[in-house]
Symmetry: C2
Subunit: 131 residues, 2 copies
DNA sequence: CTTGACCTTCCCATAATGGGAAGGTCTACG
DNA sequence: CGTAGACCTTCCCATTATGGGAAGGTCAAG
């Protein structure tokens, strides 16, 4: 199976597959005589795993950790949970940050008439000299 | 006032000030005989504006729009509000995305014992063949 | 005049892709 | 057999907004 077929089968673009190999997330693929990368069922399994982890927002280094744990039969679920928990905390903190932006902006937008006149509390707030 | 003082006064690093000038967010600063950038009170005002807009999550192109509106005495608050509203929608959509990651992960983590045994629903989910 | 704290420009790195060029390969069809 | 078109390869560039750091000029104080 060539890279294009692996891409179609997993939803991971050929570009990404090559990149993952380059940064060490995937072991170098076998090559055909012509130098084409060749993939097996096991490789697709790994690509699916990476794809799902990425969809859950894990960074590539985190995905790398998860892959290592996945392959380690002697792992402790404690370690897996730790990676996930740390990530959830990062996500929550990012959400809080974005939410506070939303709160501020909706507050300001509510006070903005949004008509032809130039007066607007959004701009007034942005030009505030304090803070 | 030199760039370092402007940076101290506004909380915008000298690096960032130069970058903002480079990408056209700030008009090129006046220069001293020695080629040093020289800033006035009005420039600090603009830097403060940019700083606050960035803290609210606006991208540099969006900040650029806001600056243009700010400088435009004949603006309609409608246009300002539109920029803010569009941004809020982007933020909300990002929040939803992150929140659904959090939901999935907390659901999985709750079921993970987090002890010395290797079994873990987090990994089981990631290796799922479907989806 | 020297030292240290400034300033300048220029280049590199970040994260995780996508785009695209130049060139080799494979397959199917006439 | 030859060729077109769909693959594949590697390599380089671009994205976003910022920081780090080098090499070299400037300024103020002692």
């Amino acid at each position: 199976m060539n890279i294009g077929q692996a891409a179609d089968a997993t939803g991971v673009s050929a570009k990404r597959i090559r990149y993952y190999e380059q940064v060490g997330l995937l072991k170098p693929a076998e090559r055909s005589d012509a130098g084409y990368r060749v993939y097996e069922a096991g490789d697709l399994h790994t690509l699916h795993f990476i794809q799902r982890a990425r969809r859950l927002g894990f960074s590539l280094p985190q995905v790398s950790e998860l892959l290592a744990l996945w392959h380690d039969q002697g792992r402790s679920s404690r370690n897996v949970k730790a990676v996930a928990t740390r990530h959830v905390e990062e996500l929550r903190s990012k959400i809080d940050e974005l939410q506070s932006m939303v709160d501020t902006l909706t507050h300001l937008a509510k006070r903005c008439d949004g008509d032809d006149r130039p007066d607007c509390p959004i701009l007034s707030d942005l030009q505030r000299s304090d803070s």
